[in-house]
Amino acid sequence: MTTATHPFSGAAPASGGMTAPIGPVKATFGGALRSEWTKIRSVRSTFWTLVVALVATIGVSVLVSIGTVGSKSGVQDLKTTGDPTSQTMSGFILGMLVMVVFGAMSITAEYSTGMIRTSFTAQPRRLVMLAAKATVLTVVALVVGLVSSLTSFLIGAQIFAGHDVHVALGDPNVLRAVVGGGLFMAVTALLSFGLGTALRHTAGSITAGVGLMFLLPVLQSFLPSAWRDAMTRWLPINAGGNILTTKDTEHMFSAWTGFGIFTLYAVVALAIGFWLTQRRDA
């Protein structure tokens, strides 16, 4: 046998190239977590998606806050019936949209590139991999969400203070709303991730996520008012959105009840996605 001369190696390949034995190892959930963290941080598109989420959410929130105090009626509204806290976080609707994309793509990108087969070969217990991915995704979305909500609130509160409208983190339910903003983003990403695992295709998953979050409210507005009133509070964005407010709204669930229902939707999507992934060929 002759020695291979390849531009890349220059020498005949020798065994496993080991400098030391590997020793006993196990494919654990912790390993899967580290792997998913490496995956998420090593692709540029993830980074930019998250930057867009931050910039869009904070940017729009601040612009709306400035706009609100730009008119006398706006300031009057804040002082009377309005909810200044939720007003500082108006940009969240955009952030949610980006989170739908982020959540879905974190799994559909593996399917579209074929990486999923490599991933499931390294860890054939698929639920371990999916659970690890869901965990990493949730933590990342939560951090982005919390930075968005806190920054939006602090800047908005500063803008409002200039017009004698005062809100602070210590006020009743304000901290709940600000932390809730982070939670809302995290669970939105998780819901979309569940849809992505079930549908596997990027376009289909994002359409489903956007439809569920943003188009359902539009569609149901065409329904007879009696049905509409019964349905409204059950819509994902309404059930989850109340966490962003400091006051309960009429006909809506209270903040935590609503958020619990929203989380339940995400759990259902995840359960369906995980179940399908477990029984399908990869």
């Binding site: 390993g31 490496t38 990486m115 054939p124």
Partner: protein
């Protein structure tokens, strides 16, 4: 060690893999041979638990792959070199895989070095050539220093140096006592690499034997003979039970008698012999002979097509109408079935 028992995969009413039972043993390179669409990739995916068998079972080192404590320590697999995220660097791709099994980080550097990818480790894998992608796939397979290695069409699209590199690599791995299971539709490639063969056609097991046995069983040895007195020799050999065929260039092809016997007969009869050349059928020929009725697709013009010969890159999915008919002609084996309506499965 890979053990398949009655392994079957059905897509609709089509059986991609049909009742396969075989064992792949350590210390050998076992070639997994079959025409495109014969079910090789599907079988390999079932071994890895990517596809669930319709019936039957397959184990790696005595248990289903899904049950392995550290799967990457058991099996290293190159199933599809393109199954990577092109936006990720080679280093990060390998690191993410190593972490799932808690393999030491140094292994990433070691396999990059071993496969000659160290210089491009930080580059996005999307820009890799086919050969480099293939090397990255092999690097990933070696991360866990596994006892079982599985390569699906590893030389696809590689240049001759790359092909030789992989061939030697597989031999080295088997020499270390590992189980090496490599699929190909390039019969000529297997001939130089494999010790043992598992041949499938239309999802069914056609042969499970050594390379030599495969050729012996599936082809007759022929002897090319030249003599200044062809008529006498023709008569002599025919009466001795041989089948003789005159060639256009004046030689004759003799079947049914070993070369020594032909020489002795000619000597005894006083017929001069100028050439006496035994011709061993190549694996290519034996394979085409065997699978002529089992190929998944059929070229329009007639004869069944095999893979291209001589280590050329394969033409994906297509037949090769210009492929010459098997030289050992005449012996039709296996079932004669209508294959016109069939299409590629799992290719």
């Amino acid at each position: 060690m890979i053990e398949a028992k009655g392994l079957t995969k059905r897509y609709g009413d089509k059986k991609a893999v049909d009742d396969l039972t075989f064992t792949v043993r350590p210390g050998l390179v076992t070639g997994f041979l079959g025409p495109n669409g014969a079910g090789k990739s599907t079988t390999m995916r079932m071994i890895l638990g990517l596809d669930a068998p319709t019936s039957g079972s397959v184990t790696v080192n005595g248990r289903p792959y899904v049950k392995a404590v550290a799967p990457m320590r058991e099996v290293g697999a190159l199933i599809d070199a393109k199954a990577i995220h092109g936006g990720r660097s080679a280093y990060n791709h390998l690191l993410a895989l190593a972490q799932t099994n808690n393999l030491p980080r140094r292994r990433v550097g070691e396999v990059l070095e071993l496969t000659g990818l160290a210089q491009v480790a930080k580059k996005r894998s999307g820009g890799f050539s086919l050969g480099m992608g293939q090397r990255l796939g092999i690097a990933a397979a070696l991360l866990g220093d596994p006892q079982v290695l599985m390569f699906d069409e590893p030389v696809n699209g590689l240049d001759p140096d790359g092909i030789r590199w992989i061939r030697e690599f597989m031999r080295t791995l088997a020499g270390e006592g590992r189980t090496v299971f490599v699929s190909s539709h390039l019969m000529s490639e297997m001939e130089h690499t494999a010790d043992h063969l598992i041949v499938i056609g239309r999802g069914r097991l056609q042969a499970d034997c050594t390379v030599k046995e495969f050729i012996d069983r599936n082809s007759e040895q022929s002897v090319s003979v030249r003599t200044p007195d062809p008529q006498s020799l023709h008569r002599l050999l025919t009466t001795s039970g041989a089948r003789v065929e005159a060639q256009p260039d004046g030689a004759m092809t003799v079947r049914g008698l070993p070369p020594a016997r032909i020489g002795d007969l000619a000597f005894d009869a006083g017929i001069r012999v100028h050439e006496l050349a035994p011709h061993q059928a190549s694996l290519e020929e034996a394979f085409m002979e065997m699978t002529r009725d089992q190929v998944e697709y059929r070229a329009n013009a007639g004869g069944p097509s095999g893979g291209p010969s001589g280590g050329q890159p394969p033409h994906p999915g297509g037949g090769h109408p210009s492929e010459p008919a098997p030289p050992t002609g005449g012996r039709r084996r296996g079932r004669s079935r209508d294959t016109d309506h069939d299409e590629l499965i799992g290719a």
